[in-house]
Every structure is written in structure tokens, then in C-alpha cells.
Point group: C2
Chain length 139, copies 2
């Protein structure tokens, strides 16, 4: 038995690929357009970790994608949480839970999917501007 992927629906494929790939750093592995069903599937995974995927499902018919409480978040280990959060922030992504402890941060995808970022190995020493940055919204 093997974990394959977590599927999330996306309302704007370009905006989602910009977030997940350009900003967060995941890599597109394969894509399938299904005109008969009017949907597109895009599989992403972290660089160096091709096995565990996210499947983005883009239904061509517009849909308002709300969240629920039973799903919590997706979590990724990252090499440098400060560097990634700085890069995300510069590109307009709100750091909902800044890495005040040098260990953990949360952001959200354009459709509100909560994403946990965890520093690989030991937590980094606390550092400004993160150490004193308040939370923004929920995650």
C-alpha cells in the first residue's frame, strides 16, 4: 500500500500553478486535459521527492471553492524556512503564521488550502523580522 497524492480543486489553474510552482517551489510532473469531461489534472511534487504528489483538479466550469473543517493542511519540509518565507512574502503571499520560532510557518493557496512549512532538521535561531511578526488571519 502506498500514498499517492492529495487532490485539491483549483478555481484558476494559472494562479494556482504560479503559487504552487513559481512561488512555493513545487514542480509540475504531468498534466492531463480531458475535454470530454471539461477538466484538467496537474500533478505536482517537491523537487527531489517525486513520489508524493499533489493533484490539482481544475474544472473548466467556474466554481466557488470554499473550505471545510475536516481537511487541515498539507505539510512540506523545507531547506531554509526564512529564505522561502522571504521569497513568498516578496511575491505577495501572506505569511499567515510567520516562522517566529525558526521552525514552522503557514501560508494559504489561492483557494484557501492551508500549507505548513517545516524547517528541515533543527529549528533556526529566532531572527527578525520574523521573531516579532504577528499572525495574519487563520490557517
Amino acid at each position: 500500500m502506498k500514498y499517492l497524492h492529495t487532490m485539491v480543486r483549483v478555481s484558476d489553474l494559472d494562479a494556482s500553478l504560479d503559487f504552487y510552482c513559481n512561488k512555493l517551489g513545487l514542480v509540475e510532473r504531468r498534466r492531463r486535459d480531458v475535454p470530454a469531461g471539461k477538466f484538467t489534472l496537474v500533478f505536482l511534487s517537491a523537487p527531489g521527492d517525486e513520489d508524493a504528489m499533489i493533484e490539482l483538479t481544475y474544472n473548466w466550469a467556474p466554481e466557488n471553492l470554499t473550505g471545510g473543517r475536516n481537511f487541515g493542511h498539507l505539510a512540506y519540509q523545507v531547506d531554509d524556512i526564512y529564505k522561502l518565507c522571504e521569497s513568498l512574502s516578496k511575491q505577495g503571499v501572506v505569511i499567515n503564521r510567520p516562522p517566529r520560532d525558526g521552525r514552522m510557518a503557514f501560508v494559504r493557496s489561492p483557494d484557501g488550502i492551508s500549507i505548513e512549512l517545516l524547517q528541515k532538521g533543527e529549528a533556526k535561531p529566532a531572527r527578525e523580522p520574523w521573531a516579532s511578526m504577528p499572525n495574519t488571519g487563520s490557517w
Copy 2:
């Protein structure tokens, strides 16, 4: 960068462990009770695939956990989709999307998390009672 886990919230930890472990076949890898925060975290993964986890978050305060549309499902590859669906069904789990094609089935966790089961390798030859079994509900 590395995928770590997908977190889902559960309203009844015993019922969830019964579903995810006893019925679906995942294995509990570690658990953390946090009395100060009144929550319990349980990490599960598939046998033989310890890296990609599900994190169950059980908040001790009762909560009604509804679903949303931005999250889709968790997907697992399974060795014998007929055998697993028969076992799930015998234990009272509704097979929302039966494996009519010998390849794909969907069930739901007690809190409504949709779970896709995909046959490893080639699809199995169509077989009753699955081949003619209708869908039940949504997934």
C-alpha cells in the same frame, strides 16, 4: 523539499483509528497528547511506505467537522482493490464508488474525508458484484 503529511481533523479518534487502521490498513506511527492545548495528534502511514503520512488532529473539544470543495481526496495505491473493498464493505464501510473497472474506488472516512483507492499496476478484470454495482452518494 519534501512532502511530509496531509492533516485532517477528526471528531472521534477511536472511530477514526478504527477506519484508517483496522479497516483501511494504515499503521499508527506516532502519537502526541497535548493536554495543555487539549488535542491529540496521531500520525499514520501505509505499511511499507512510512514517509508519507496522514496527521489526524483530534481536538478534545467537540466540533462538527464539515467538508469544503477546495479539498478533494487522499489517494492510495492498493495491492488488491477487490479484496480491500470486500473487507471494507463487510466492516460496514460504504463503497461510494465501487471498483467497476477493477481500477478505482472511493470511500469516505467517518468525518467525510474522501479516499481514492487505486489498483497497483494493471486494472483487474471486471468482476461481480462490483461490475454492476451503482454509486452511493458522492465522494
